[in-house]
């Protein structure tokens, strides 16, 4: 009896140590980023020898980084709007007609881009945008990011719509409301949190996507991750950490906002 108890305690301790180590593994790189952004020297070392805010001052004086920041925001908002529009309409259409042939083809086609390595997507779209003359535009990167963001919005909305009580829509129809009016007054108020979270996810996907943007961007449309990558390959200085810290803060802010709109566990389930 005592030996089984002893064994259970040992197992418990090993289990806790295991997931504790993984917790450290998950958060340590992000901690490194934030801490090194306050470094005083030009070299990234963890922990830094001395601390200062000089790299933050540099950031706000660097037009290149600020331009990249603007580009990232433009592309992120564009992606969020387009992906939300496509995803919400598509999921709603699917919900109206669950057993159509088109619907059963649409779902896998929407999902496939997520499973193709971004490098291959980047190459494919680069060749395509060369052919149709969209190379170097914001639109090219927005369309590429929408390819990745739409499946997320689409599947979030499918799960949101699946919980909606569709008899309410029938009731609105019976009372004489047209399809547009009944959608705006009956469906929308019930699913607006889902739409918001979907749009937020699309924005974050775009903000952090890097490989496709690397292939498609030109100096004028360079996003933050692309500029960070080119900088890292040349010299590893704390400026990248400063920028990364801002990106992490935006993500944390987004999680908090999303958590208020719904709750964290639900969001994480939708992400998978």
């Amino acid at each position: 009896m005592t030996s089984t108890l002893h064994r259970e305690q040992l197992e418990n301790a090993a289990f806790r140590a295991g997931y504790g180590a993984l917790l450290v593994f998950m958060l340590l790189p992000l901690l490194v980023v934030v801490v090194t952004s306050f470094s005083a020297s030009g070299r990234i070392a963890f922990p830094p020898d001395s601390y200062s805010l000089v790299w933050y001052a540099d950031f706000f004086e660097s037009t290149r980084w600020l331009d990249a920041f603007t580009n990232s925001l433009i592309i992120g908002v564009g992606t969020a709007l387009l992906a939300t529009l496509l995803g919400v309409l598509g999921a709603f259409g699917q919900e109206l007609e669950t057993d159509s042939v088109v619907g059963s083809v649409v779902a896998p086609v929407v999902l496939i881009p997520l499973l193709i390595p971004p490098v291959i997507l980047g190459i494919t779209l680069l060749m395509y945008f060369n052919e149709v003359g969209l190379r170097g535009s914001y639109a090219s990167i927005i369309l590429a990011h929408t390819l990745w963001a739409t499946p997320l919005v689409y599947f979030v909305m499918r799960s949101v719509f699946s919980r909606f009580d569709w008899q309410q829509l029938d009731a609105a129809h019976d009372l004489g409301a047209g399809p547009v009016r009944s959608f705006v007054h009956v469906v929308l108020p019930n699913v607006k949190h889902g739409i918001f979270v979907g749009g937020l996810l699309a924005f974050i996907i775009s903000l952090q996507e890097f490989v496709m943007a690397l292939f498609l961007s030109t100096p004028g449309t360079e996003t933050i991750p692309v500029l960070a990558w080119t900088e890292i390959r040349q010299a590893l200085d704390p400026m990248v950490s400063v920028v990364s810290t801002f990106l992490i803060l935006i993500s944390v802010g987004a999680i908090i906002v999303a958590a208020i709109a719904t709750n964290l566990e639900w969001v994480s389930k939708q992400l998978s």
Binding site: L30, P117, V119, I232, V240, I255
Partner: protein, 311 residues
């Protein structure tokens, strides 16, 4: 119909459009709602891939990126010859797959463990563990990757700690090396894998595991024979995602190792050498190889899950 009636037609046509929309059967309306999504997938996904396929069959050209309108299998022949002769492309392709397999194996084991820990945790610990998964997910992979450089380099934090505690007598070069690339890539795909498995575990009944324990199964055995088979759909998704993204990995091997992966090589072909047909042919071949490997993985894991069907 005279020309004078054409002006006021605009508002009526709008109204009639709305009326006709309202009058549509629900399946036509569903199609209309899905139309933008279908058009988007056609224009930005299906057609671009057809063009990639077309370019892969074009003749290479010295002054243009490829010879328009030409048909040739030259690019495929060159790629296949190079692979079969164990030259550069063989090492590029085999290293990419080796990285994919190594990362997938490590990731699935860690993800299953972590997802299980999240599933069993309650309250604040659960929130913290979930947060630790979601936060890296929302951070760009450039950041996730470069943070390992100050940690793992020969003069980095990990080496410092190991040296000062006496566990090592001289520093180990974790980066650049294959180990570095694997660690970096595992970090990139682990959050997705954890969430894929967790989302399945979350729907599972803990009482089934308890019952197995009551019947005398040890903890590891109850996990292996009850939890793993039930979590198999999540494990399959996790494995497919890890594998697909790691074979095509770009940032982690580019920054943390000196080996050339498929992604790095194809970038060189495309942006450096401007050899479009070769880059396209290599991409098509990689996609096919990945499709075959994923199908095999699917079949194997499905069989493993099927043997212990307790549901």
């Amino acid at each position: 119909m005279s020309e004078t009636t054409s002006l006021p037609q605009i508002p009526t046509s709008l109204a009639s459009l709305r009326e006709s929309f309202a009058g549509q059967s629900s399946s036509t309306r569903a199609l209309l709602l899905m139309a933008p999504l279908i058009a988007f997938e056609l224009l930005v996904f299906v057609i671009p891939f057809l063009i990639l396929l077309r370019i892969s069959f074009a003749e290479p050209s010295s002054d243009l990126i490829y010879e328009p309108g030409s048909w040739s299998v030259e690019a495929y022949a060159a790629v296949v010859d190079n692979i079969l002769a164990f030259e550069l492309l063989w090492s590029v392709v085999s290293y990419s797959f080796l990285l994919g397999v190594a990362v997938t194996a490590v990731t699935v084991v860690l993800a299953l463990f972590y997802a299980y820990a999240i599933w069993r945790a309650t309250g604040l610990v659960k929130t913290l563990l979930l947060f630790s998964v979601v936060l890296p997910l929302l951070t760009t992979l450039v950041i996730r990757t470069y943070a390992f450089t100050p940690l793992l380099s020969p003069s980095g934090t990990v080496n410092d700690i190991l040296l000062s505690t006496g566990l090592l007598s001289e520093s180990v070069q974790f980066v650049p090396s294959m180990a570095g690339a694997v660690i970096g890539q595992v970090y990139i795909v682990l959050p997705y894998a954890v969430l894929a498995i967790y989302s399945v575990l979350a729907t599972m009944d803990w009482h089934v595991v308890e019952a197995a324990r009551d019947l005398g199964a040890s903890r590891p055995r109850s996990v292996a024979e009850v939890v793993v088979p039930q979590a198999m759909p999540g494990i399959i998704v996790a494995a497919v995602i890890s594998f697909a993204w790691s074979v095509g990995a770009y940032a982690a091997p580019g920054l943390l190792s000196e080996n050339i992966t498929f992604a790095l090589h194809v970038e060189e072909l495309l942006l450096g050498d401007l050899r479009y047909p070769t880059a396209a042919a290599l991409s098509v071949i990689m996609l096919l190889l990945m499709l075959v490997s994923v199908s095999i993985m699917f079949a194997v894991l499905n069989r493993f899950g099927g043997d212990f069907d307790l549901a």
